[in-house]
Amino acid sequence: MSLLRSVARELKNDFVGAATTPLDLYRELRYTAAGVRSGEISPMRPLKTAGLTLGALVAVLTLLFPIYWILISALSGTGGSIHSVDGLRLLPEKPSLQPFIWVIGDLILPSYEIGLGIPFSDSTLVFNTPGFELLDASDYGVESPSGFKKFFWNSLMVAIPTVILGMCLIVPAAYALSRREFIGRRKILFGYVLLTQVGGGLGIALLIGLYTVFVQVGINDNKLALSVYYAATAVPFNTWLLKTYMDGIPVSYEEAAVVDGAPAWRVVVEVILPLSKAGLATVFIFTFLTGWTEFVVAQTLLGTENYTLPVGLFSLVSEYSVPWARFSAFALTFASPIMLVYLFAQRYIEGGLSFGGMEG
């Protein structure tokens, strides 16, 4: 609970921080300007800052150019294409948000009737919640919007159990590996480091075997089973990552808690976990991403009704034609939550990935 509250607080701080950034920038500008005018600050300095910032911006934009290019095609009102004969184009042709609207579809919250029986009487209070019509796709000429919302829901239904299960497997293991000495500890650690990457490319032949097993057990086309699979693949890397992070937490906190009379599990819950926040956030994002972006296994195991977003994305592509505008719009919409999450979790992820325990 307090964890949630602290997350909320951090979020608030981030928002405030983000909101005051322009203000700070303005203050700096004013201060520098005043300094330059009075001759205290040589004009080279702000110029150098501006130049370097600009350089960085150019570098970042160059890196992101493919994304921008996708965006152009997503905003194109003419179906878009990544093959454009008409030369390098930096603005979309006949710009239109239609592809995005097609992706999102209607956003209509239907009105519900809520009846509240009043105790000891026969009467019922009836409320009608107002219906919200945020976006009606047909207003924009989109007749049959994509299945994005359904896929999104499916993806959530896969990703959430993946994260929950993954965390349940990873956190205790990471703790034990970081703080306890037991038989095989080093072997397991070593194995985990080895296995962090091996496996991804085992190939599709594997998949058939895997699928057959799933069918045998009767859990194919089951989102939960897929989650279990994802959680399993996420185990080695993330366990190792979290363990490394936990290594960086000073033992004295634990000792203080032990001397304070806390039993082991409370030490973990009250001290280790809150202090591993950054590591947990990183692991959280990585396990989430596992389930969110994986395509091949999901496509093999899931039936049409259970398609997750990546599979849904690829069901847009038919043998010969790619509807680029919609395809791109779909992909970008799909990636946007991750971007947002990262924007806010950035500090933690950068902290969580710092391999605190790795001494050089």
Partner: protein, 374 residues
């Protein structure tokens, strides 16, 4: 409240390759404040951690009160520990930090806990900080909170592991007084580890000196100061350090003379001293800086040159060309020039004599047989 008894405690690390604590026996009386001092790596922390239950002794036993707690888990011992880096939980507020121990080790209700914490916080003068996080506190405030966290639990024993070493000089003196005041008020048995001999001297009812894992001496600070059991203790306690000279004993007829390298000569008249050196070829002579007096040339006076003069405001330290580096602490108005030749003398009762090979005090032995310490 309870006595703490360490009985031939030994702790080995790395399968016996490192002996951190070697056969230490000690009794801390109920309500006593014992300071443990020694150079870095001498085993102070290890000893303390064994009392806390954070390390398991390789050998020997630990008693709190009448209970043998050697095998008892740290969380079941009713001790509170203050760590060098405070070890305040950074994600909890001051109040939560202080209440944590109560939550874990007592059945108090939430309100009772809050009440208790509030009382202690008032006592420590940190009631305004209760809602803050440790990050937002200054060093001194953190230290107070760390103390408060220990006090609030009202434990049998307080353990302090260099709690002041991260504070700056001024703050350290303030907090020192504060801790003493608290201990007087609460009267809880306390073991206080420090590497600062001044802290150890001023704070402890009794002072325990460790070196290389072994107990060197334990006693009332003043006694230890005046009558160190060996050269190590003599040199370690007191600032500036005791001056040491290796001297040859020359007995001729009824007089005994101690002869040093740089033309140092000192005649022993005191019978006790003469007895102590009798039959020895070499001894180590120890004399505290404040016992070195600048004197007129004369029979007992030793001639030497001033190498450096160091003013510390209240006094001046004269570095003399005697032995390796001898210091005389003189009043701040005694200001010889560098290189000046002066004469110094010392009172026979201020002299310390140590065995030249093993450093044991030649005077302490005699005395100890009469009045055993601990």
């Amino acid at each position: 409240m309870a006595t703490v008894t360490l009985d031939h405690l030994r702790k080995e690390y790395d399968n016996g390759q490192i002996v951190a604590v070697d056969d230490v026996s000690l009794t801390v009386e109920d309500g006593e404040f014992v300071t443990v001092v020694g150079p870095s790596g001498c085993g102070k922390s290890t000893t303390l951690r064994m009392i806390a239950g954070l390390e398991r002794p390789t050998d020997g036993r630990i008693y709190v009160g009448n209970d043998d707690v050697t095998g008892v888990h740290a969380r079941k011992r009713d001790v509170a520990m203050v760590f060098q880096n405070y070890a305040l939980y950074p994600h909890k507020t001051v109040e939560q930090n202080m209440a944590f121990g109560l939550r874990m080790s007592t059945d108090l209700s939430k309100d009772e806990r809050r009440e208790t914490v509030r009382e202690t916080a008032e006592m420590m003068g940190i009631e305004d900080l209760l809602d803050q996080k440790p990050d937002e506190l200054s060093g001194g405030q953190k230290q107070r909170v760390a103390l408060g966290r220990a006090i609030v639990r009202d434990p049998d024993v307080f353990l302090f592991d260099e709690p002041l070493s991260n504070l700056d000089a001024k703050l350290r003196t303030t907090m020192r007084t504060e801790i003493q005041r608290l201990q007087n008020e609460l009267g809880t048995t306390s073991v206080y580890v420090t590497h600062d001999q001044e802290e150890a001297m001023t704070m402890g009812d009794r002072i325990v000196i460790l070196n290389g894992g072994e107990l060197q001496q334990s006693g009332v600070p003043k006694e230890v100061y005046n009558d160190p059991a060996n050269e190590f203790v003599g040199g370690f306690i007191g600032s500036p350090s005791m001056n040491f000279l290796t001297v040859t004993v020359e007995e001729s007829g009824g007089t005994t003379r101690l002869v040093g390298e740089d033309g140092f000569e000192y005649g022993l008249t005191d019978e006790r001293l003469r007895n102590a050196v009798r039959g020895r070829e070499q001894v180590r002579l120890g004399i505290r800086p404040e016992d070195v007096r600048v004197a007129e040339p004369g029979l007992d006076a030793v001639e030497t040159t001033v190498e450096v003069i160091e003013p510390v405001g209240s006094d001046n330290y004269l570095h003399l060309a005697l032995g390796e580096d001898s210091i005389a602490r003189v009043a701040s108005d005694v200001e010889p020039d560098t290189g000046e030749t002066i004469h110094v003398s010392f009172d026979p009762s201020d002299l310390h004599l140590f065995d030249a090979s093993d450093g044991e005090s030649l005077l302490y032995e005699a005395e100890r047989s009469a009045t055993p310490t601990v």
